[in-house]
Symmetry: C2
Subunit: 320 residues, 2 copies
Amino acid sequence: MEAISFEQIAKLLRENDNFLVLMHKSPDGDAAGCAYAMCTLLRNMGKKAQPLCGDEIPSLFSVVSERLPVQQFEPEFIISVDLATEALLSGKALDYAGKIDLCIDHHGMNSGYAKYGYVDAKSASCAEVLKHLFDSMGEEITPLIADALFMGVSTDTGCFKYSNVTPSTHRVAAELMECGADSFGICRRFFDTKTRSKLALEKMMLETIDFAADGEVAFVCVTKKMLQDSGATQGDLDGIAGITKQIEGVKIGITMKEKEDGEFRISVRSSDGVSAADICSSFGGGGHFAAAGCSINGTLEEAKKAIIDASVRTLRGESA
Amino acid sequence: MEAISFEQIAKLLRENDNFLVLMHKSPDGDAAGCAYAMCTLLRNMGKKAQPLCGDEIPSLFSVVSERLPVQQFEPEFIISVDLATEALLSGKALDYAGKIDLCIDHHGMNSGYAKYGYVDAKSASCAEVLKHLFDSMGEEITPLIADALFMGVSTDTGCFKYSNVTPSTHRVAAELMECGADSFGICRRFFDTKTRSKLALEKMMLETIDFAADGEVAFVCVTKKMLQDSGATQGDLDGIAGITKQIEGVKIGITMKEKEDGEFRISVRSSDGVSAADICSSFGGGGHFAAAGCSINGTLEEAKKAIIDASVRTLRGESA
């Protein structure tokens, strides 16, 4: 992948037409926000542009996605946004693997799959990168673009709460508000609204949280029955991996999800110098230092005992 | 109260010494943050300065409060921060009612109790006002001052989520980070940490939430027994008034707290053009359009029926 500058990106966008903008499977607010922002900007420049995701766009993002009518055309220039690797493409978007002309991303581990690329790992969200790009191009950031980018900036930072937030993140937020972003509505929708089914699921989770190692390890399992009884959707599961880690005194928060055929999918969140990746790698999983995942097969009790034991050993400084 | 400029405030701060900085009872992050920021700045200018609150400073604020050693001296110049009216003073701070030289605040309804005052109702927090004041004075914002102000800015906006956030709020946050504010630690402490007792209380609350008017009214009561059983402290009650309003489809969220002697203290949060103040004023209470409070005496069932009935009437457009 050839690393190019904002000036070179601007030239590519101006010289080409009929853009397809790809996002990763199970799109989050940053992926969807960036795809819709980029397409809106390109259309405002007189181009044809259409976002494409192999999965359905969650209804939560309709505040942005429903404002851009579908365009039909033969794609000529393929862009990806917020896409670390082509392995994250799904469905129809997979047809474009190996054919991506331009990648704009903020994942330091971007696999370099595109012809041209711009990756800024210091940006908390890909939306923050796009904001700087659009500014450098001198193109107007309309209210729809501002909403789409604000959705990315706020959701990728947990509403300006995570450690990835920099002064630039806050300045971008300020400028997007000045461009007409409905920051309050977006924050309320994403950070201050719970569905009845999510509420029901959280109640069940709170009833079954278990602790080990004097409260330094917290464990919860979301069973198939809990999902069924609560009516929880995929969107309701957003953020649940953080619930155990929020509890005061907890250094290792474990959230286990029951899948089909006796598989349990496990998310581990850690702090205070404890490596979640170490715990998960002992079960063939992996991830970041403070947020990792793995799978364990067996009964609920077996899987629970295995992951808690590994966590307690890691806490004690033994190998997981 | 004579409205004065930043220049005039700077002159008062430079010409005087031995400052007492008052905060309101049950201090929140903005009140405490501003008092500690102001005293730190004054001490850096070579003055004596001490914060004073009639109530104990919650341990949650120790990240700031424990870094300023106590100074003993005879106060000569009395400042209040984030104090809308002297009626909100308590304990030892009450001794200074009627004697306040300078008030710096962001409450539009500030009662004008001080000799000199600066009130900026457009600022989301009083900390935002102080940031602009300190900048205009050309004084250095040290990491301790930055932490204290960031605590005020973030807590008074629900971590940049409320409708009071403006572009200026985000710019102030960016600059405080550049001055050394531990924004991640502060956000994690205030917005991503739950005590075991708060968790227990929330579980009990989720078990007893009740709905009316096809889910447009949500109701929960925190009884004395729930407080006892969960071990919840005053700090654990922060934010619980918002829990019912978060639920999707809810236009009126009611949180009732059982007090002594058959009194129930009620918080109402509303949206979609419904006036919480109207509902509460029918019980002799009041507040803002979207957030108000009142008290009702009786049994739990009587109080619950009364406030839900008034809410349903208001929803239907009848008088509460």
